[in-house]
Symmetry: C2
Subunit: 295 residues, 2 copies
């Protein structure tokens, strides 16, 4: 079973504090730290871990232990919105693990974090207990500074832990979600309004696909425009459907697709789904991929 976990921590400036967190994660068996990066302007660090449920639970608790000791949000400043010392902890199913496994893991870790450290925990995305607490942005509105007032209202009783912020560590948002795909489509035109209109047509917030966030940009150096997207659930809103819709909308403006690009990582299943769609493959099974058989 392989689950990914991407904790976001409110410290991106003090290298020795981040190094201590890295050491704490690396000391946990059955977990691999694939990547970590710190942003000084955001004053925030992001860790990418993979492992099984039990290993990730230990790693996240070890990370909390360090963060609670080393971070004090009362003196923390940075551009990025944040609610807690360990701000957000998503669990992401990768291989041999279901979304239900990740939801169960998020709840178990949330309960443990509250019990052990006295930090209130909100569950988000697939682990969410209330529709109003599904989106991270909604939960984080008002940030750490507005948290005490907000937690005094009945709607913001946390899922686990005390009904008030931890004095230094605020609150944490823990949950489960699908892998994100950062996907851009470049158009063979310099007309920015075409990219903006297509972005508006396909994104959820203005009536488009449920799992698409999109914006139109100018690529000044190339003299072309781009529809830049985040696909937040490639199973329910697959890449090929988004691509075909962008293509059709572009045609309406007399514009062609120049190319698309996948930024960073993409799950094999998302690419396979595109091959299945276009080649009209019937009855395809992931076990038919040679590399899956060999491993």
């Amino acid at each position: 079973m392989l689950i990914e976990c991407v904790p976001n921590v409110s410290e991106g400036r003090r290298a020795e504090v981040v190094a201590a967190m890295v050491d704490a994660i690396r000391a946990v068996a059955d977990v691999r730290l694939l990547d970590h990066s710190s942003d000084s302007a955001h004053n925030r660090s992001v860790f990418t871990l993979v492992g099984d449920s039990a290993g990730l639970e230990r790693a996240v608790l070890a990370l909390f232990e360090r963060a609670i000791t080393d971070i004090d949000l009362r003196t923390h400043k940075g551009e990025h919105p944040r609610l807690g010392a360990v701000d957000v902890v998503p669990f992401i199913p990768i291989e041999g693990a279901t979304m239900a496994d990740c939801v169960a893991l998020a709840k178990r870790v949330g309960a443990e974090v509250a019990a052990r450290f006295g930090v209130p925990v909100y569950l988000y995305e697939e682990a969410s207990s209330h529709p109003a607490r599904k989106n991270l942005e909604d939960i984080r509105r008002g940030e750490f500074e507005g948290l005490a007032a907000r937690m005094a209202t009945p709607e913001w009783t946390p899922d686990f832990g005390p009904n008030a912020p931890h004095p230094r560590a605020g609150a944490s948002v823990i949950g489960a979600r699908m892998p994100l795909i950062a996907y851009n489509i470049n158009l063979a035109t310099d007309r920015l309004e075409v990219a903006k209109r297509i972005a508006a047509a396909i994104r959820h917030s203005s009536g488009g696909f449920r799992y698409v966030k999109a914006a139109g940009f100018m690529l000044e150096d190339r003299g072309i425009v781009q529809v830049s997207m985040n696909l937040t659930n490639y199973e329910k809103t697959p890449i090929f459907r988004v691509f075909e819709t962008v293509k059709r909308e572009a045609e309406r403006h007399g514009v062609s697709i120049l190319e698309s690009e996948i930024v960073g990582l993409v799950p094999a299943a998302a690419l396979n789904a595109a091959a299945e769609f276009y080649l009209q493959i019937a009855g395809f099974k992931p076990e038919q991929v040679l590399e899956n058989k060999l491993r």
Copy 2:
């Protein structure tokens, strides 16, 4: 480094002989026996092994040792054409191994088989030393029974070993090739001549793509026809190009594609190439596949 090896052995009836071969392969470190199957009518067994160069070399030699002891082609009968006790040994690059690695391995194993067992060896496909000896069918023409007369002619001097068949084990054909993809396209029609004409249009032997073998069949139970294909090099003749050509040729007869199917295994790269083509993905790298990063 991961190489696949699929030895075909001329014994598919005596279970104890096949079992001894299985044991001989399994005793070799750094090699996994993924699959083996025996066909009684063909009197032939096929083994699927994966491993590194050194491990596969040892495994193939161990298989030869058993086959030379247990098989006598002078009394072997079966429907499938064959030249030797260990009839054909292809090496196939899978991951972190190039075709050049597989060609080198085929030559090393061929030389060793000839030296150790006195079996003449012909190199075929990518390892072939003569254009006339590239195709397995050409090398195997006349079978074991015609081998002695053939080997008396200068054109059939083997690549390694003596200039005459091994009395019991004949000769072996060893080489390197790409993974095969068995790929069928079903047409929304019962007109067999449409499938036959499309098969003729796309297959190498009648002027089509270099790495396509194809035939048209009737699927009686479903009342539709099928273009049944073997794609012998998906890098040079990719699935999507074959699919698009079949689609276009079918249109010319007023016929649509109902579905396609991949029979058995397909390399991830072959599916990814289809996704890249249809989604017009620029600059895609295999390392962007999440699962590749995690392993």
